[in-house]
């Protein structure tokens, strides 16, 4: 496919426009197919964004978004957030939990996809695949129930075993030293199979002639994984990583809200749980959206920044 526009850097404005409409007309079927998606995003993602102005207002429910008074000073709600005694703790927790999830959560689905791909017994492969992506459909309440049954200090199975062999019980769910590990590992467990799907799809897209060529050159299975499969899905890995970076300040509200308790707040309380308690439950909607905007801004910077870095290696998304 040739790209005529890119070839002429300083084309005149009208001609450029004309050629855009020209090509748009030529590919009209594609544009029509694109339309529903565009409308969806405009309607449900862009239009509601005008609501962020309440971050700069003293939102009053009976006056509504447009008629509430402007906050004075304009950054009042941002300051409340920055000056909260828990600000640094919240930020640290959010970033740490997120980074742990990102780092430790990246390799297992890839490994899973590779293993599934190499498995030649079809029924076994589908069985494992189904079993591993089932947890994705469990809500956190249920997963917490399972964790409680296993790890509870007073009635959990694991601690019962420890007690039976005469050991000291371990406060997995109420101690600051275990809580983050439990968070991260339960998240990995939940998303292992689901995360593998996208990699499997990418692997399926690799040109089979590459494998044949490798085999002809005498490569074994491991060699083929290393030289064909992994490079073949490299783009997907990097793209997912960059997109996930944008969610760095979303450490998983639902999971933490269900699993935490006052004893682990120092390591578990994140921006979103704080916003829920302080913003939503106490009617400080302006504060809540100020924090939301803060998070979105940082997320945007991270996505743009990481893409730039990825581009240095020739792998950026755009």
């Amino acid at each position: 496919m040739e790209m005529p526009i890119a070839a002429q850097p300083r084309a005149e404005q009208p001609r450029r426009l004309a050629s855009f409409f020209g090509s748009a007309w030529r590919f009209r079927a594609f544009y029509v197919m694109l339309l529903p998606g565009l409308i969806y995003y405009v309607l449900f993602k862009y239009l509601p964004m005008y609501g962020v102005i309440i971050a700069f207002k003293d939102f009053n429910m009976s006056s509504g978004i447009l008629h509430s008074a402007w906050a004075h000073p304009w950054n009042k709600h941002f300051l409340t957030f920055l000056h909260s005694p828990y600000f640094s703790q919240l930020l640290t927790n959010t970033v740490l939990i997120s980074v742990y999830k990102l780092l430790f959560g990246m390799v297992p689905p890839i490994a899973m996809a590779l293993l599934l791909n190499e498995c030649r017994v079809k029924w076994f492969r589908s069985l494992i695949q189904t079993l591993t992506y089932m947890p994705h459909f469990l809500s956190w309440v249920i997963i917490y129930g399972i964790l409680l049954a296993l790890l509870s200090q007073s009635s959990g199975l694991v601690n019962q075993w420890i007690k039976d062999i005469g050991g000291e019980t371990i406060p997995f769910l109420t101690s600051t030293s275990y809580f983050r590990s439990i968070l991260v590992s339960s998240e990995i467990w939940q998303n292992l199979g689901w995360g593998a799907i996208i990699y499997l799809a990418a692997i399926a897209g690799i040109d089979p002639t590459l494998y044949e060529a490798a085999r002809a050159d005498g490569a074994g299975r491991l060699r083929m994984i290393w030289h064909v499969t992994l490079p073949g899905i490299r783009t997907v890995i990097i793209m997912l990583f960059i997109l996930n970076l944008g969610h760095l300040l979303d450490a998983g509200f639902e999971q933490i809200y269900i699993m935490y308790n006052i004893q682990v707040y120092p390591v578990a309380d994140i921006l979103d749980t704080w916003v829920f308690r302080t913003g939503l439950q106490q009617l400080n909607f302006s504060l809540a959206s100020a924090v939301g905007l803060f998070k979105a801004a940082i997320g945007l910077v991270l996505v743009l920044g990481s893409n730039r870095i990825a581009r240095i290696w020739g792998e950026g998304i755009w």
């Binding site: 009053n60 828990y86 939503l280 939301g292």
Partner: protein, 534 residues
Amino acid sequence: MKTTKRMTLLLAGAALLPGLLAGCGSGGGNNSGTNSGGSAGTGTAQASGSAGSSASSSASGSASASAASGKKVKLDIIETGNNLPTPDQDFIKEALDKALGTDINLTVYASGDDYKNQLNVRLASGNFPDLFQVPDRATLKQFAEQGLLLDLTPYMEQLGPTKEFLGDESLKKTTIDDKIYAIPKAPNIPYNTYWIRKDWLDKLGLQPPATIDELKNVVTAFAKQDPDGNGKNDTIGLTGSKLSTFAPVFGAFGVGDPNTFYVKDDGKLVNSLYEPAMKDALAFIKGLIDTGGVDPEIMANTGLQHQEKAIKGQAGIIWIDWPNLSKDQFAEQIKKVNPNAEWIQLAPPKGPGGQYDGPYDAGGTSGIYAIPKALEKDKEKLQKVLDLLNYVSGKDGSMLVQFGIQGRHYNLDGDKVVPTDLMSKETGFTWLYQFTGRPEMSYLQTKFAPQAKYIEFANNQPRLQSLNGFLTNPEGYNPADATRFIEEEFVKFVYGKEPLTNYDSFLKQLETSMNFKTFYDDAVKQLQALGYGK
């Protein structure tokens, strides 16, 4: 080839990015525009077709008048609660609709946190329920300041039966700046006590503990001496939910639970945090926890996880309300696990500061119900809401929402209510419709006849009169942060993560970084204005 791939990636990226942007801002973005669904009432709820011409003697004349006009007025009501049957099985709804010419759509939320969130979102999006529960007085003030609530003062004449039912004194609890903004439900009598396994005591040859030192011994013995006789070290001495597990222990030192206001015997208004005896109480609780007999997960016991431990036969003492341990269904479960299990209530153990079964909120209500200001414009609907409130306060309506349908769930023997077998089976949810409360003692004694002695016992224990229910929060004080800080530090003290010698610096930090001083001063002023602590 390469370019196509690039293009696909770019498109995928472009498609995902806005989602990510908007998703991040979910805190603020969501509450704009329309509400998040679920507002449409259940369309299948039309139970009785013909207009209620047979409307029984209703409390106010206007009710039957508009019932005759034949149009059903839809009333949307939300509150916290559970076990509401589906509309077609809900005989209270049917009876109320018939009497008032309404179509009541009641929605209940099991979790208080969930409810708060839902309510806030609905109010913010302008999708007002016609009658709703307000979580507490502090929230009532916030709502009132935002101009969301209908000032009921001018309507008091129309609310005659309701007012009579509640009493003038009670309405003070929902009065802010001389305006009545809501209907306070009369408070429940206190339900909570320590409960203890009598059969375990007998097995170990112990007496029910009368002092806190004896309590400590029993807690230790329950955990260490295998009271259930299964040869395993798997029992817990004491359980409960959060720090309230120790309410009677705080009481034994003459102090209330953390951050409660009350008036001492000498007439002085105090906050439990500033009581010198608070440190002694914390030291004792630390000792109690050090014995290893206290459930290590009290802080993580949310909902009714502690109740489960008691029913399963794992815990020997529990701080809980009588319904959750002695109602028929739970009594059955307990017997199923162990036919010999016997739970008895325990009077608060004595300590250096007397004996109190925790604080009991004098300013509390068992629910506050408000009408949105927006209803002012819809006169017909507003009238129906007022009718409803009057009806459930009047004789017929009150009987209905207390005991169910006459002839089916109860019969009258003179003035005395005689329950039928169906009452305990079917009327468990009727309290959800008690928007203005109920005559507590007679209600409970009738409806829960088998539990009567537990009800009376719990009601008769000495309690500290806490005044927190009267308070509202001043500007600049963030109760979420402060509550967290207090609870967090208390947990550190009792689990020995921080020495008690740091208690004073804890107070200092609370006052400075959490702005607690502002709250405290303001609270004292508010309470003194109400005549406390002079």
